[in-house]
Symmetry: C2
Subunit: 292 residues, 2 copies
């Protein structure tokens, strides 16, 4: 199959590596010629070009550019692709863009490969990044219009377009899930975006300790518990900001529920409700096994 | 040196293993004969007995029993030890017991080796548990009476008793810190006890999701971010309860500061204050490097 990839960073590069190795003809597009040359050098693509028009022969195109650019990228691609081409994306937030992209291109299929690394760029691309990890496909269905927009009610992602993206995601070694954009965004708020906020606020409140001796001691004594709980709050600021901006409603919803939960713990401590605290900790210990 | 250990669980067993290997004569006491036999079998002690009186020859005694029993254990030991013997403990909270124990035994030195494993008991004891980890010594000093008690103002831990415990802690391979019980409890609230509450509430709020499809999806999609942030909140309930009970004031203080921090994030999201969120995430990324 002729597969196009726009945006040859870590994710675009890794998709190219896998699909080229699997025998597909991979066409890459990057803004800079230097990135094109790198992608060719590491065998992530068969052809590389700075022009979107070079993707005209492709049956499917992965848009792997930053989330803010995806809808406009789809409308640019609409000028150069044949109408049967399927366009898919890899953004980590879906509600903000899947309907808009589908309005630009009926054969658009939203997708989210839940894989990453702490380093970005084509230099970091490697085989196996997607192996065993989730890949969520988020079609839209005219029957449900979760954002209440009249336009949205008409849209329904084509089943054969979904099947094509699912086939390629399977070739990456991913575990497939399918849900609506709204369900996706609500679920990732809980397991990915809320943890960043929870964790960042742990760091922010610890460094707010006004007693210098205590703060210094805390920094010295911190070990695995603090390290793990603070990890995602000490990650890339751009990623956290993107979650906040593009999944604002769901991040707010989960944070408000979390805030209520924290308030309950404070009430239990103030009331010395030891049975309540113990039963909470027993419940969270049991519940965690369903997530990990 | 003749070293006594009361309570032959994981920590008591590990202290015995290290100090016996270092040439000390180690006297162990456990409630059950079976535990005594196990401690002898794994070379954690030279002698083992179910009677506290067997510790009479010891120059130092480590109390490694549960936190709730420490002060009464010190008063029982006071009946059988010679007055020059130093008693120390290994509890993870200090304010609630160091002054009370010192009132029972002037040669008491509070201590907290910050090492552990997810499994308990003498069966899990091994060499190297303390190597490179913090060991906090928490003497009291008459000059400061942080709890305002008149009795406390008279107490001051003897320097030679502190030196003896510090010497043995060094032999365990630990990195030594010294601070007041109040400073210890405030610091560990930030880096150990608050993370448990933060993390448990993440789990509790995620499982409160009323939409079954979304909750199931969240459970399926959870990966390293949720796994790390939720780890300590899914730990032993008894440990979390102990922190809450014995360090209640400091856990409450840190939780209330944390609650304010969460409220600030909610305000920033509601106001779409992206610059504020980005600068917070930049600050937490930078601050975390001081802890880990």
């Amino acid at each position: 199959m002729n597969v196009g990839i726009v945006g040859l960073g870590l994710i675009g590069g890794c998709i190219g590596l896998e699909l080229k190795a699997n025998g597909h003809e991979v066409y890459g597009v990057a803004r800079r010629q230097q990135t094109c040359d790198q992608a060719l050098a590491v065998q992530a693509v068969d052809k590389a070009n700075t022009e979107l028009a070079s993707l005209a022969p492709c049956e499917v195109v992965f848009v792997c550019t930053p989330i803010a650019t995806i809808v406009s990228m789809v409308s640019q691609l609409a000028q150069v692709l044949s109408p049967t081409t399927v366009i898919t994306d890899v953004a980590s937030v879906k509600g903000a863009l899947v309907r808009a992209a589908t309005q630009q291109w009926p054969n658009f299929v939203g997708g989210h490969p839940m894989s990453g690394k702490s380093v970005a760029g084509i230099e970091a691309a490697e085989r196996g990044l997607f192996l065993g990890n989730s890949y969520v496909i988020t079609p839209v269905d005219g029957a449900e219009s979760e954002d209440g927009e009249r336009d949205g009610a008409e849209l329904k992602t084509d089943e054969s377009a979904i099947a094509l993206v699912e086939q390629l995601a399977k070739e990456l070694g991913s575990v497939l899930y399918r849900c609506t954009p709204a369900e996706h965004d609500r679920a990732v708020a809980w397991i990915s975006h809320l943890p960043v906020m929870v964790s960042a606020n742990l760091i922010r409140s610890a460094v707010s300790e006004p007693d210098d001796t205590v703060r210094q001691l805390a920094e010295n004594l911190a070990s695995s518990g603090f390290r793990d709980t603070s990890r995602v709050g000490g990650g890339t600021p751009e990623l956290g900001l993107m979650m906040a901006q593009y999944n604002r409603a769901e991040v707010l919803r989960s944070l408000k529920r979390y805030q209520q939960s924290i308030a309950t713990t404070i009430e239990q401590l103030e009331a010395k409700d030891w049975a309540g605290i113990e039963s909470t900790l027993e419940a969270t210990k049991a519940a965690r096994t369903r997530f990990v």
